[in-house]
């Protein structure tokens, strides 16, 4: 009963904070595969904004994302995951406003335990991932291509300290749908995170973990008929302080993401700071 109340409180808090949040997520345990037969339900609210229009149109775009991830420890060395995002974009410019809402593409992913070493006070885990993004989302948010996502997570623990490193590559447009002549730009990202786990209470049933993440992401420009498509492609370096609170089977996470450097191709809007609030329930 207490767990049910906690879940409801978490969801209510996520909803109440829905106007503040965003980002890709606190990934401080990504290289450590969950136990066999473990269910993980993860939900977030993300708030993102793009502004500083280089054209005189005074464009701005605000995005709200509600990703839901369901993961299951099929075996101790194999995790299967599914992610769906509900998204809302609000655009404004000098000539008026518009908005779009709908489902994004569905991502199916597996994570495999390549290495796991547990010693007193030390843990190291390496877990590669492979995923497929299926173009079943709403027209406004679908890539209209089948995209392959490859990644490798490395997580380490030295007593209460934890580090995480994630290398990811997205082969967007691996399989095109009929009638599409666009080659969407591939994506590359390198992320690193550092956190410290502080146990609270007599049996340390609550833990608070301040986290600092850094991310470099590069998206190549789209190509159509052999020509680079204007106003596509970007490189961005992000610095993200956050906090993670863990209590038994629940994790709350909050993150602010600041683009400290970015290069937008053409006349694209710049990324502004973004916020995320999330909750994870594990059973």
């Amino acid at each position: 009963m207490k767990t049910v109340i906690l879940i409801l409180v978490s969801l209510l808090l996520s909803t109440a904070w829905s106007d503040i949040a965003w980002a890709t997520g606190i990934s401080i345990d990504a290289g450590l595969t969950p136990p066999q037969n473990r269910w993980i339900l993860r939900s977030q609210v993300r708030y993102m904004k793009r502004d500083h229009d280089p054209t005189p149109m005074q464009r701005e775009m605000t995005s709200y994302l509600f990703p839901v991830v369901v993961a299951y420890g099929l075996r101790s060395d194999l995790t299967v995951m599914m992610r769906q995002i509900v998204r809302r974009n609000e655009m404004s410019m000098i000539t008026g406003n518009s908005s779009q809402s709908g489902f994004a593409d569905l991502l199916l992913m597996t994570k495999f335990r390549m290495l796991r070493i547990n010693l007193p006070g030390y843990t190291l885990g390496v877990a590669p991932t492979i995923g497929l993004e299926m173009p079943i989302g709403a027209e406004a948010f679908s890539s209209n291509t089948w995209d392959l996502r490859l990644g490798c997570f490395v997580s380490g623990r030295i007593r209460e300290w934890g580090f995480d490193c994630n290398l990811a590559y997205a082969w967007n447009g691996m399989i095109k749908t009929a009638g599409s002549n666009l080659d969407p730009g591939h994506e590359f990202s390198l992320e690193a995170a550092l956190g410290v786990q502080i146990g609270l209470g007599k049996e340390a049933l609550l833990a608070v973990a301040p986290v600092l993440e850094t991310s470099y992401r590069r998206t190549r420009a789209d190509v159509a008929d052999g020509q680079k498509v204007n106003n596509t492609g970007e490189s961005v370096f992000l610095l993200s302080p956050g906090i993670k609170l863990t209590r038994s089977s629940l994790i709350w996470e909050f993150l602010a993401q600041f683009p400290v450097w970015q290069k937008q191709e053409g006349e694209q809007l710049e990324r502004a700071a973004a916020l995320l609030a999330g909750v994870r329930f594990m059973y």
Binding site: P34, Q36, N118, A207, L245
Partner: protein, 112 residues
């Protein structure tokens, strides 16, 4: 609207932390001597690889599924797993070690 104006007020954030802290710290310590008085054997194992309270549930779920186990309780900070057996039941250490491994942790020595 600028991002800065959308941040929650510090008071709201502190109240949230306080709420979570109260929920987290209010759980009473488990009294294993009570189980022993009821005729249950209580064992204690070292477990390496747990790094937060979120690890407890996955391990306890696997251990509790072993026939003959009454309950179990993990502690990530002390790297310990308490296992309570059903009265007059025998459970092999290897079965518990296997559950610890399937939770992606590493069993150490049996302390008790």
């Amino acid at each position: 609207m600028r991002i800065a104006s959308a941040w929650p007020a510090p008071a709201e954030f502190m109240m949230l932390l306080l709420l979570i802290g109260l929920l987290g710290c209010s759980a009473p310590a488990t009294d294993f001597s009570q189980f022993e008085q009821e005729g249950s054997e209580v064992r204690v194992y070292e477990v390496f690889g747990m790094d937060c309270p979120g690890c407890h549930g996955g391990l306890e779920k696997l251990v509790n599924a072993i026939p003959g186990i009454r309950t179990s309780k993990a502690n990530w900070e002390k790297q310990r797993l308490h296992v309570v057996l059903q009265p007059e039941t025998q459970v092999d250490d290897s079965a518990i070690h296997d559950a610890i491994k399937r939770a992606n942790f590493t069993p150490g020595k049996r302390i008790r």
